[in-house]
């Protein structure tokens, strides 16, 4: 029977905290940038112009249909060779994760927008609103409510996807725990603690969002 010894991890606490800080900071960056790419992708795929629609579609499918691990490696190792673009591991992984998340956010945002009855835009147009005013005042406020559960879900996945940046030696929680595991010869304890840390952050977040959803639903 395996003898668990979590006490040994205490001496690595600053390493873990450091890694956790990088993971959380990274998530904030890739969720915010991902949402921006998602907005661009969504509005691009709804554009009146075919060229823009095709460009948005190419972006969405390129990042949605290839594995994120391959994208990370590609951004860091292939871009410098092919395009002469040198990036630090942090920039490369932030960019790859933002674009990857952005492709999924695009589809969520687009789906939310098209799910709003066309009568709503017609009513806005009939009042004399421009398409942009109709989008901002009428369609988006209703669409966002419908998008929130899916956006939250994708952001949870993004949070966990940051664990992959360790392959580019970005010192996130997983990378630091690899260091700790090699040093302490206690991988079971180390990775169990890592799993608990991810869950400890995500579970309270999901509870907050569920409450928020309920409040939003009341106003309809």
């Amino acid at each position: 029977m395996y003898q668990w010894d979590f006490g040994i991890l205490w001496s690595y606490r600053w390493l873990f905290l450091n890694g956790l800080g990088v993971t959380v900071g990274f998530t904030v960056v890739i969720v915010v940038c991902g949402l921006l790419f998602g907005l661009l992708g969504a509005f691009g795929s709804l554009s009146r112009f075919k060229a823009i629609r095709l460009a948005a579609l190419a972006f969405i499918e390129a990042f949605r249909c290839t594995p994120i691990l391959v994208q990370l490696i590609w951004f860091y190792y292939a871009l410098p060779i092919l395009a002469g673009v040198e990036m630090t591991p942090i920039t490369a992984s932030a960019l790859a994760l933002s674009l990857y998340g952005g492709s999924f956010y695009s589809e969520i945002i687009r789906g939310g927008i098209v799910s709003i009855d066309s009568g709503q835009s017609e009513a806005g147009a009939a009042l004399g609103m421009t398409p942009i005013q109709t989008m901002r005042r009428i369609v988006l406020p209703q669409a966002i409510k419908r998008m929130i559960p899916a956006l939250m879900n994708q952001s949870i996945i993004q949070f966990k996807n940051t664990s992959l940046v360790s392959v580019l030696a970005v010192p996130d929680l997983v990378y630091q725990s690899q260091v700790a595991a090699h040093d302490s010869y206690r991988p079971l304890e180390t990775y169990t603690a890592v799993a608990v840390a991810y869950a400890a952050i995500l579970i309270p977040l999901t509870i907050i969002v569920r409450r928020g959803e309920k409040r939003l639903a009341v106003s309809e």
């Binding site: 009855d117 009568g119 709503q120 009513a123 009939a126 009042l127 005013q133 009428i138």
Partner: protein, 268 residues
Amino acid sequence: MSETPKTTSKIEIRGLRKSFGSNEVLKNINLDVAKGGVVALIGPSGSGKSTLLRCINLLVVPDGGSVRVGDTRFAFGEGTKLPDVKTLAGFRATTGMVFQHFNLFPHMTTLQNVMEGPVTVRRMARADAEKLAREQLAKVGLAEKADQYPATLSGGQKQRVAIARALAMEPDVMLFDEATSALDPELVGEVLSVMQRLASEGMTMVIVTHEIAFAREVADRLIFMRDGVVVEEGPARQVIDNPQEAATRAFLSHFHRTGALPPANTVS
């Protein structure tokens, strides 16, 4: 086709054509509505009457012909450029429209629904817009529902809010697209009575409707359409009581054409 004297027509439509794909929905339509006039458009479904109505405020952009409301005229067809979004929006702000399915904004209260046009489109100060919106709500008898969301209202109340919302833009003309077709029979009367009062106040109105008795009572002209053409047109009572065309007669035979309007608060 139109015999309306060319005095002060508010709406003038000439040679209007519209196709959806290979389906020609409007074939060379001409229409004049006098200032303060009330025109009822009737006809079987698929006759093009709703499309014609939507061409008046350019929610549907015609393929050919011209549309004039007040002093603003747009021509369509080969060699003409489509109006840009700003011009279109400014034009639509002067025409109110009421939809079959109300299309109220569900995320806003009744008051906010009515204020939305004045605030966003006319850039009115919120306090002024609220005053205007409350007046319009009072006019349709719903002042006390100002702070409720549309989901809590009956169909008839929703449609009256939709009328108030359109009126808050202080439009030159009002377009009604089967405004009572989605309502339970007992709720039709309250909407029709609001429309009737609006007509008596001198609003220029075009009404797509299946309420033949209402059209006979309130409209001064009636247009019967079928398959994208105007089959018969004339004073509403005359066309309804004494249709000249066989197609008009056949269509009207499905309706009770006379009798009192459905009263506002009883089951019809």
